[in-house]
Symmetry: C2
Subunit: 246 residues, 2 copies
């Protein structure tokens, strides 16, 4: 038990105020902070509620997954009027893929809040996606469908769901950016240099210049990947301006 308490305490200190950290992520004041604590409680703690039921984020994951599927379905229904049932199902599967959910959870660094007796590096990549689903479930439980829907629009749909990309009309963010620059007579270039970090693997870093100004940076294991990553970042940071659908 002391192990658990130590982990809990050390994490509490490390994370500062859980309430305000969560508020920053979800974008509103939690009504019941207990629900969000549950969203980060790993089953390894063997925590029980008053009725003796196991408390862990897995049940919230189930709830969050269902809400995410519903909100994405409704969005695709409206945005892809030409797609039949099978096509919409496939598009949704792309958006809520394990890989994508893991990326979303990782971007929010949700793993920092996990309460567990297991060292977090031992978790696989899926922990990120699972926590992301759990926090969606927590929001639904705390505030209902509309707030949950807003969160999904803010964190998933607006930044990541681009119908053109999903439908393969845009092959890459780099090509999207080039097309936009040509159309709008902007000068751009990718500045690439070998990254001499501490990693064993060789990395490349890239700065994306637009009209002489660095608008995005990225780092990856190949030049091509780094360029794509930088273009993607530039795209999302300037989504209102860069858009080829006119």
């Amino acid at each position: 038990m002391s192990v658990i308490r130590n982990i809990w305490n050390s994490r509490s200190k490390k994370n500062g105020n859980f309430f305000s950290e969560i508020q920053k992520i979800i974008g509103f004041k939690p009504k019941s902070i207990e629900i969000y604590q549950r969203a980060f409680t790993h089953k390894s703690l063997h925590k029980k509620d008053k009725e003796g039921h196991t408390v862990s984020y897995e049940r919230l994951e189930f709830l969050g997954d269902a809400m995410l599927s519903a909100v994405i379905a409704a969005h695709l229904f409206k945005e892809v009027p030409h797609g039949d049932e099978g096509y919409l199902t496939k598009m949704r599967a792309k958006i809520v893929s394990r890989k994508h959910l893991n990326q979303l959870g990782e971007d929010l660094n949700l793993v920092q809040f996990v309460k567990t007796t297991i060292a977090t590096p031992q978790f696989g990549a899926n922990i990120h996606g699972n926590l992301f689903e759990a926090i969606i479930g927590a929001i639904y439980l705390d505030k209902g469908y509309t707030t949950c829907e807003k969160f999904i629009y803010k964190k998933v749909i607006h930044p990541y769901v681009n119908i053109d990309l999903l439908e393969g009309r845009v092959i890459s963010y780099k090509s999207l950016l080039i097309e936009w620059c040509q159309k709008n007579k902007k000068k751009f270039h990718y500045e690439i240099y070998e990254d001499t970090g501490k990693d064993e693997q060789r990395h490349f870093a890239v700065k994306l210049h637009l009209n002489g100004k660095v608008i995005a940076k990225a780092r990856a294991t190949s030049k091509k990947k780094a360029e794509e990553k930088a273009s993607k970042r530039a795209y999302f940071a300037n989504q209102d301006k860069i858009d080829t659908r006119e």
Copy 2:
């Protein structure tokens, strides 16, 4: 085209006022009747909207399926606090099984509204469940999540989702009824007689008497099935009174 028009007209006459029929089923005034018309438009009509997109109920089915899954997930999350993620997933699968959805659609006789060039008897049993999902999608689109949730509670959860039965704590509705009668000192008996209908298969009909009054009737291919069916009907008609969970 004349074939289509004929089918449409003959159905319109047969169905009377579509608006008021739909209102009866959904329990409120439709805001946009067009959405509900779409929920009964079969792809065989090759109907297109102004933008040239195919109009059929299949896309609404996709939307309704997602909403149904979300509402059932939220209900189970609250009602089954002891169930883990896997258990909740299994329970939901039972509730939204093809067989169950077909039964729900059939009970509402949704197939009467279908607009198609195919004779309805040629549809398989799944048409009932598909239309049921489509009408859920239509309600979501017409009135939003909360109304959609209310409809699902009224038509699926309240009448059919019994956690005790789903968890196997109640083996049958007959045993549930017997238990309740014994506890509440009620006299009951099943009156069974061979049904000499027009069917090729032999049928049994049953009347369920409670304190000398017939409270339910049913008909099936075996005595046992007919008794169970009558008990189920009696249970749902008197759900507020008959409940062994105390």
